[in-house]
């Protein structure tokens, strides 16, 4: 008889626990979504626009070509070495 009670209690704890975990995380999902919406509406991130607009001057074209050349040579060597 005691065994049956133990099983029953286990089942109760399983239902209660799983239910609570889901409810809690659902509330968390709602909270997080609301929080993100509010924050993005009232305090839009200034950091990103600054980062993409000002902080990144275009790299000089010459260096770019140099880098491309180096990468090209490296690729070529790699392919030669790992030919299948």
């Amino acid at each position: 008889m005691r065994d049956f009670e133990l099983l029953e209690e286990g089942l109760a704890l399983m239902g209660l626990g799983m239910g609570f975990v889901f409810v809690f995380l659902t509330v968390l999902v709602i909270t997080v979504t609301l929080m993100s919406l509010l924050l993005r509406r009232f305090a839009p991130a200034p950091v990103e626009s600054a980062a993409s607009g000002v902080a990144r001057p275009a790299p000089p074209a010459q260096q770019d070509e140099e880098v491309m050349a180096v990468i090209g040579v490296a690729l070529h060597r790699y392919r030669q070495r790992h030919r299948r």
Binding site: M18, F20, F22, V27, L28, A45
Partner: protein, 440 residues
């Protein structure tokens, strides 16, 4: 000659019991797994070594001053302790019988006052608590070590992916089914008469399915300290086995096409959102589940230190120096629970088996939840990231990424899988809080 005999009687070789020998072997196996196979070496090296230390005969590193005195003290001291415990020793019985009587008295029957008096007797004649026993009392029995580790984990966790896609919290919730299914399994095994687990013990075993070492240790130190050694070893061993346990289940439950699903790029998350998140989580814990506040409180504290960006020195300590120190102490303390009487039992085998099942069920539940969410909503979710819902940060996310790459070499799921991964940490801490609330 007399002295030689005394020396022999005091030697480890004379006093070594079979159980201790086996446990030293278990310790060596753990060290082998950690060093040669790289199984969670940061924890299994201290745990394995602590296990060996705890089983050195006559050294009493893992027992209290009182137990030590009972085991090795001179007869006069034994009589003193007996009178402190309110009993008399039968002069006709031998020393061994006296020790057994005292041990039985201490384990059950003596009042707290009597225990304190007996302990004073033991301390007065020069016995002290063993090193590992002290570590255990200070770090684990008080619950402090797992909580400090949780703070460090919080300081290392980036909630960005989770905030960018909050729905992945459901995956972390679903994967906690492993915990509760295992709890029911343990209860079922007891009902069938195969094992003898109480409801508290079953809950502590189930939490292995949370795949979260500190949470497992915390819960079992509260609900079932007697099983702590076996549970911690099972939890860390299986966390190391995640890359082997999960992929077959993931492949079984998903089709190739589902594994190839690419997910939309995550939106960038602002710093302010990351700062507010731990505070919002803390408020929810305070409102709905105060019993989870030790775990989640420390976790949120660590995360807030990380994200606020004004206490970098504290963050650095929390995620490096402090967590390392505590890991050493925690590992040795857990090792001290690997004592023959409690570890060499059928129950340990049961715990190992149930722990494996817990991982498997948690993984499966996460994947199935992801498939369900795919049916219900338009935004595609690769079911593989559901498997990362069992915490085991960041191993489970890496496994999801790897299995995804096998199907589609251009599909990087790592960042997407980190969402359910950290959701799993929150989920298992919530599950732990529910268990402690219900049973504590």
């Amino acid at each position: 000659m007399e002295n030689l005999v005394t020396l022999w009687y005091g030697s480890g070789a004379y006093n070594l019991t079979l159980g201790q020998a086996v446990m030293i072997l278990v310790g060596l196996v753990l060290l082998y797994l950690a060093i040669a196979k790289k199984f969670e070496p940061l924890l299994l090296v201290p745990i394995g070594f602590g296990g060996i230390l705890a089983n050195i005969p006559e050294a009493g590193l893992a027992i209290s001053a009182l137990d030590q005195a009972i085991e090795v003290a001179r007869p006069a001291v034994l009589h003193q302790m007996a009178s402190a415990l309110g009993a008399t020793l039968d002069p006709l019985a031998g020393q061994e019988a006296w020790r057994a009587t005292l041990k039985a008295l201490v384990d059950n029957g003596a009042s707290p006052d009597q225990l304190r008096a007996a302990k004073d007797v033991a301390t007065n004649v020069g016995f002290g608590d063993g090193l590992l026993y002290t570590f255990y009392q200070v770090a684990v029995a008080s619950g402090i070590a797992p909580l400090i580790i949780f703070m460090g984990v919080g300081a290392m966790t980036d909630f960005g992916p989770l905030l960018a896609n909050p729905r992945t919290l459901f995956l972390g919730a679903a994967a906690q089914f492993g915990i509760f299914a295992t709890l029911f399994g343990a209860v079922g095994m007891s009902a069938m008469g195969w094992m003898d687990f109480s409801l508290e013990q079953s809950a502590a075993i189930g939490i292995i399915g949370g795949a979260d070492g500190p949470t497992s240790i915390y819960v079992s130190s509260v609900l079932a300290p007697e099983l702590l050694g076996a549970i911690a070893v099972a939890a860390y061993a299986y966390m190391a086995l995640v890359p082997m346990i999960q992929p077959p289940i993931m492949k079984l439950l998903t089709t190739k096409r589902e594994r190839e699903i690419t997910m939309t790029q995550l939106r960038p998350v602002s710093k302010l959102e990351k700062i507010v998140f731990p505070l919002a989580l803390l408020m929810l814990v305070a409102l709905f589940l105060p019993d989870a506040s030790p775990l989640l409180g420390m976790f949120c504290f660590g995360n807030l230190m990380r994200e606020c960006g004004v206490v970098e020195r504290l963050t650095d300590t929390a995620q490096n120096a402090l967590i390392n120190i505590v890991t050493i102490v925690l590992g040795l303390a857990v090792g001290s629970r690997l004592m023959a009487e409690s570890f060499l039992a059928l129950e340990t085998l049961g715990i190992m088996a149930l722990g494996m099942v817990a991982f498997a069920i948690g993984t499966a539940a996460g994947i199935l939840m992801a498939k369900l969410m795919n049916v219900m909503s338009k935004m595609p979710i690769n079911p593989l990231i559901g498997a990362a819902g069992v915490s085991a940060v960041p191993m489970a996310a890496r496994v999801a990424n790897k299995v995804g790459l096998e199907s589609n070499p251009h599909n990087f799921l790592l960042m997407h899988a980190m969402g359910p991964n950290v959701a799993g940490v929150i989920g298992s801490a919530v599950a732990a809080g529910v268990m402690i609330k219900y049973l504590g």
